[in-house]
Symmetry: C2
Subunit: 318 residues, 2 copies
């Protein structure tokens, strides 16, 4: 399989899905009559919290890593992340039998460091700021020759993340809307492309915390906006868009909704209490947007991408 | 359907399953390679935490309530419980369009009272002790003519609870062992009967907290033992066996394992972290027993009944 140099086509997404199938779970779609009653909509939850490593990130990381040549694989793969992408890269490398190098901030939670190491990856610590993260990654790549897998601004990653919406649409061909969270935009852009290709009549929405509403502002201004602060509980959504993800999102996404921190926690709690499944705060953002906007969603059949379930049980917001 | 006056036969369980099908979910069976690796066994989790009202109790309550005559239904149904059985009775009554009366201790958590009331049941408070609970229930039954649905010591209840193991065996016909938690014994006796009838070569085990090991002691002594204290986090398992459930359990259950409070919390945490599903402490007891007894379970295909997922998120043990 070749590395993608353009926004994934339908065929690219289909080929990616076949190629990564042995590395991912086909996750279930759950419903909840209690939350339907509260929202007034008919909701279908695509459970990427049950994905390998507990998040959709496994789709993108496997998509990027299987594309490497024999020779490139020998040097392994690298990334910088303290989140789900780090574990996804580490597990992808383990599955392919190649080395992985993960740059993490020295204040990363011990459980996340242990998680990455449990897949056999080498962890390299850096100071907890973006400059240190990037320079440390550069020196790791220089030392090892490893291939850097960007967490979102990469067409191979986008093709992988698109497979979640592809599966959702295969299971539910008549959705009226699909909504996903927006961080760096990998999941959002993949979701938008898969939906446009496979279910063109379905609306595609994004949701993000009000505190980091860079995507909403980027849609307004027509250029990539950044966040002055990243003060949100939704730790997976603090990043701003990349040029590749924004290029797709501005063309394909119908609207982006923002929600408050209180609305995120309330939606997260609702899922825990009513559905008995564990989702992380970032993952609750689209449901919070659905609950906040009954004029848009009430009476509709809505697919919600539940992006991940990795939470620190010692640090719950309730 | 007639009310059962004897331990349910296979035909009784089959008829019950057909009759209650519209009132319950057929719950999924999940697997987890991470927990398989830790346990050394191949585990199949029957997810009654996803059942209506969040627990297997809906099976028994619906089985008991649909058997009532037209005339008896007019007076409604009653029970005393501060737990999952109360919600199951309330929801069963709502589905059948009949009144429900639930006696609850005055110190019951507000969320549980609200849960029962949300199904339209009338809540009658009593002092938080067994004598007050029973006398209050008696006066409610006298006033209303409602039919008392016992939480476990009732063959109709046992036939309902048996349908969980029936579904599990239908999905996985070649299990080498099935394990369920033991409280009053409704789920345990139903699980044992269904397994004996449908998969006679499969071992049937029970698990209970060491702190309330009445079932283990009852198996040793041959008579119903009680618990001097009920100091366990597994609030669904504090009760002792009834004569109907013990009669079945002593004949049909191969062994009962006991586990410490620490082992219960560790197993609960493992399920939350690895499977991303919410289970209540009582529900973690069988997995704790499997992890504690590799000599019995390692290398085996084991069905675990996950009994429920109702936890107070403000009172977590981690």
């Amino acid at each position: 399989m070749h590395s993608l140099q353009h926004p994934p086509t339908l065929q690219d997404i289909q080929e990616t899905h076949i190629a990564i199938a042995p590395m991912i779970h086909r996750t279930p779609v759950l419903t909840c009559s209690g939350i339907d009653a509260i929202s007034g909509a008919k909701l279908f939850f695509k459970c990427e919290n049950f994905q390998k490593v507990g998040a959709f990130k496994m789709r993108g990381a496997s998509s990027a890593s299987i594309r490497l040549s024999e020779e490139a694989r020998r040097n392994g793969i690298a990334t910088h992340s303290s989140g789900n992408h780090a574990q996804a890269v580490a597990l992808s490398a383990k599955m392919l039998g190649i080395p992985a190098y993960v740059v993490m901030p020295e204040n990363a939670p011990a459980i996340k460091v242990a998680g990455v190491r449990s897949y056999g990856a080498e962890v390299i610590f850096c100071a907890p700021n973006i400059a240190a993260r990037e320079s440390t990654l550069e020196s790791v790549v220089e030392r090892t020759g490893a291939y850097f897998i960007h967490p979102y601004n990469d067409y191979n990653i986008i093709a992988g993340q698109a497979t979640a919406a592809k599966e959702l649409i295969e299971d539910l061909p008549n959705l009226e809307a699909i909504i996903a969270p927006v961080g760096g935009g990998g999941l959002m852009s993949g979701t938008a492309l898969a939906t446009r290709y496979l279910s063109p009549g379905t609306k595609v929405y994004g949701a993000e915390p009000k505190a980091v509403d860079d995507a909403w502002r980027s849609m307004q201004s027509g250029k990539i906006e950044v966040n002055a602060t990243t003060n949100t509980i939704a730790d997976g959504l603090r990043t701003h868009l990349g040029e590749k993800t924004f290029e797709i999102i501005r063309k394909q996404v119908d609207d982006i909704f923002t929600v408050s921190e209180e609305e995120i926690v309330a939606a997260m709690r609702l899922v825990w209490e009513r559905m008995k499944i564990i989702i992380e705060p970032s993952c609750a953002v689209p449901l919070a947007a659905v609950l906040k906007n009954p004029a848009v969603f009430s009476g509709k059949r809505v697919g919600i991408i539940l992006s991940g379930g990795n939470v620190d049980l010692g640090e719950l917001p309730f």
